[in-house]
C-alpha cells in the first residue's frame, strides 16, 4: 500500500467530517463531525510516521493527541449539556442570540 492510498483515505474521512459539520443541525453531531476530522488527521500522522520511518515518533504524537482530544470532547460535551438545559433540545439554529 502506498502513501497515496492513505492520503485518499484521509481526504475521504476529512470530507465526511466537514460534510457532517456543515449539514447538521444538531450540536452533538457537530462534535461527532469534529471527532471524524480528528480521526482523519490521526490516520495521517500514523501514515506519515510509517512511510518516513519515524513510527516511534508518530506513535508518541498520536497517544498525546488522543489524550488531548478526549479532554476537549469532555469539555465540549459539558457545554452542549449546559445548552440543552436552557433550550431543551440540541438545535444548532437556536444559537442565534449573539449577533451584530
Amino acid at each position: 500500500m502506498s502513501f497515496w492510498f492513505f492520503c485518499v483515505c484521509v481526504i475521504m474521512l476529512a470530507v465526511i467530517g466537514v460534510y457532517c459539520l456543515l449539514y447538521t443541525y444538531s450540536l452533538m453531531r457537530a462534535l461527532i463531525g469534529i471527532e471524524i476530522l480528528i480521526k482523519a488527521v490521526t490516520l495521517l500522522i500514523i501514515a506519515v510516521g510509517y512511510f518516513s520511518q519515524h513510527l516511534a515518533l508518530a506513535q508518541s504524537l498520536v497517544i498525546t493527541l488522543i489524550v488531548m482530544e478526549v479532554v476537549i470532547m469532555v469539555v465540549a460535551a459539558g457545554i452542549v449539556l449546559g445548552l440543552h438545559h436552557y433550550q431543551k433540545d440540541l438545535d444548532i439554529r437556536k444559537l442565534r442570540e449573539l449577533k451584530g
Binding site: I38, A40, F51, L98
Partner: protein, 478 residues
C-alpha cells in the same frame, strides 16, 4: 530552571486542591495568594534577569514524550505580558466575582491557563506548541462558560467548534512538516523548509498552519467566534482572554511561523498581507456600528491584530519588533478597556452604550483611564500605541508595501473614530438621569486600571530608551 514557569503553577494548583485541608473560602484565599506570588515572581524574573536562571535550558525526557524548553528575547516579552495581565486579572476577579465557588473555580482555571501559556512561549518544538495551545484553549472554554448562563455557553460552544477545527488543521500541518523534517523541533522543520524549496506538500503544510493560527486568533474572515465569545463571556474572562490568551494562542505561533520560514516566500507573504489588511479595515468598520461595549472592543481587538500581522508580513527586524511591541501594548490597553467595560457594567448594570452618558462625572478614574487606553489604541503620540504602529508602518514602507502602509495609516483614523464615539457616548455628554446614584467601582478595579494606564504612559515616554535596549535585539531573532 526555565521549566519552573510550567511546573510551579501546576504544582501549586495540585497542592492546594489535593490537600484541600480547610473550608473553601479559606482555601481560596491561599490559592489566590499563591497566584499573586506566581505572577509577581514571573514579572520579577523577566524584569531583573538572573543569568543563572535563564541560561540553564531545561531538558526533560520521559519515555514517551520529550520536550525541550528554551527562552529567547521574544519569550521574555511574552512571559512579561502573561505575568502582567495574569496579575491584573487575578486582582480584578476579587472585585468582580461575588460567589466564593465561582471565584475559586476562576483561580484554578487561571493557573491552568497560565501553565499552558508559559509552556507555549517556552516550547521549542511544534508538537509541544500544539499541546500547550490545547491546554490553554481548554481552560479558556471553561472560563467563557464559567457562569453557565445561556449566552456564555453559546459563545463557548462557537469557540470550541472553531478552535477544534483549527486544531485539526494544525495537526495536519504538523504531520506534513514532520514527514520532511523527521523531527518536530523548530530547527529541524526550518532546515527541511530550506532544503526543499518549492515542494508543494511543504507549502500545503505551511498554508494549513497559517489557516489554523488565523482561526485561533480570530482574524477576518475567520472571526466568526471571537465577538460572540468575548461579549458573552463573564466580565473577568473577557479581560483575561482578550488581554492575553488569544494573543498567545494565535499570534505567538504566527511569529514562530515567520521565524521558521525566514524571509517569507511570496505566496505566504501575500496571504499574511491580505488577511492583515482586511482584518484592520473590516473589523474597524464593524466596530463603528456596535452598540454593545464589549462587542465593540472585540472588533477593535481583531483590527489591532491585523496590525500585528502586517508588521510580521513586512519581514524585517523592524517590523517584527513593532509587531511584538504591539502585542505587549495591545495586552495592556485592551485589558484596561475591558476592565473599564467591567466597571461600567458592574456599576450601571448595562453594556448598551446608547443608554449611557456622562459617566466620567461619576466614575472619574474609569473615565480617565479609558480615555488614555482609547487614545493609545488609536495611536496618538506620546502614548505607547503610537510607537508600535509607527514601527509597523515604517517597516511596511521600507519593504515597499506602500498600499498596505497607507491602509494602516488610514485605518488609524477609523480606530480614532470608533474609540472617540465610544468615549463620547459612555463617558462624556449629559449625565443620564438613571445614573445619578452611580459610584466609582471598588479599588480592585481602580488600582489595576491606574497601573495599566501608568504603563501606557511610561512606555510611551520611555520609548527612546526602550527601542535600543529591548526592541531591536528582539527583532534579530529573524
Amino acid at each position: 530552571m526555565v521549566g519552573s514557569f510550567i511546573f510551579v503553577p501546576i504544582l501549586l494548583l495540585m497542592i492546594v486542591n489535593v490537600l484541600s485541608f480547610s473550608h473553601k473560602s479559606k482555601l481560596h484565599n491561599i490559592l489566590f495568594g499563591f497566584g499573586l506570588l506566581t505572577a509577581l515572581a514571573q514579572i520579577a524574573l523577566v524584569l531583573w534577569p538572573n543569568k543563572n536562571f535563564w541560561q540553564l535550558t531545561a531538558n526533560y525526557q520521559f519515555n514517551v514524550i520529550k520536550f525541550n524548553l528554551a527562552a529567547d528575547n521574544l519569550t521574555l516579552v511574552m512571559l512579561l505580558a502573561i505575568g502582567l495581565v495574569g496579575l491584573i486579572a487575578l486582582i480584578v476577579a476579587r472585585g468582580l466575582i461575588n460567589d466564593v465557588d465561582q471565584e475559586y473555580n476562576f483561580t484554578n482555571l487561571w493557573f491552568i491557563a497560565l501553565t499552558g501559556m508559559n509552556g507555549l512561549v517556552l516550547a521549542t518544538d511544534i508538537f509541544s506548541l500544539y499541546v500547550f495551545i490545547e491546554i490553554t484553549a481548554v481552560a479558556s472554554f471553561i472560563l467563557i462558560a464559567l457562569t453557565k448562563e445561556r449566552d456564555a455557553l453559546e459563545g463557548a460552544f462557537k469557540y470550541v467548534i472553531f478552535s477544534s477545527f483549527a486544531t485539526v488543521l494544525m495537526l495536519a500541518a504538523i504531520a506534513l512538516l514532520v514527514f520532511f523534517a523527521g523531527d518536530t523541533s523548530f530547527a529541524a522543520i526550518a532546515n527541511a523548509i530550506k532544503a526543499n524549496p518549492g515542494n508543494s506538500l511543504i507549502l500545503m503544510g505551511l498554508i494549513l498552519y497559517l489557516l489554523s493560527v488565523f482561526i485561533k486568533s480570530g482574524l477576518i474572515p475567520f472571526h466568526g467566534w471571537l465577538p460572540d465569545a468575548y461579549s458573552a463571556a463573564p466580565a473577568i474572562t473577557s479581560i483575561f482572554i482578550a488581554g492575553i490568551v488569544t494573543k498567545v494562542v494565535g499570534i505567538y505561533p504566527l511569529i514562530r511561523f515567520v521565524q521558521l520560514t525566514g524571509t517569507l516566500a511570496d505566496p505566504l507573504r501575500n496571504i499574511l498581507l491580505l488577511v492583515g489588511g482586511t482584518s484592520i479595515v473590516i473589523a474597524a468598520l464593524s466596530a463603528l456600528g456596535q452598540t454593545n461595549f464589549k462587542r465593540l472592543l472585540a472588533y477593535s481587538s481583531i483590527s489591532q491584530m491585523g496590525y500585528i500581522v502586517l508588521g510580521l508580513a513586512a519581514g524585517s527586524a523592524l517590523g517584527l519588533a513593532g509587531a511584538i511591541l504591539h502585542i505587549f501594548n495591545h495586552a495592556v490597553f485592551k485589558s484596561l478597556l475591558f476592565i473599564n467595560a467591567a466597571a461600567v457594567e458592574k456599576q450601571t448594570g448595562t453594556l448598551d452604550i446608547d443608554k449611557m452618558g456622562g459617566l466620567a462625572e461619576k466614575m472619574p478614574y474609569t473615565g480617565a483611564t479609558s480615555a488614555i487606553a482609547s487614545l493609545s489604541t488609536a495611536g496618538i503620540p506620546p502614548l505607547s500605541g503610537f510607537w508600535s504602529k509607527l514601527l509597523i508602518i515604517i517597516a511596511l514602507w521600507n519593504a515597499q508595501l506602500y498600499f498596505y502602509a497607507t491602509v494602516a495609516v488610514l485605518a488609524s483614523l477609523l480606530t480614532l473614530g470608533y474609540m472617540l464615539t465610544l468615549q463620547r457616548k459612555v463617558f462624556f455628554g449629559q449625565l443620564e438621569n438613571a445614573f445619578y446614584e452611580t459610584k466609582e467601582a471598588g479599588w480592585q478595579l481602580v488600582l489595576p486600571s491606574l497601573l495599566l494606564a501608568g504603563i501606557i504612559l511610561g512606555l510611551g515616554l520611555g520609548f527612546p530608551w526602550l527601542i535600543n535596549t529591548w526592541l531591536i535585539p528582539i527583532g534579530k531573532i529573524l
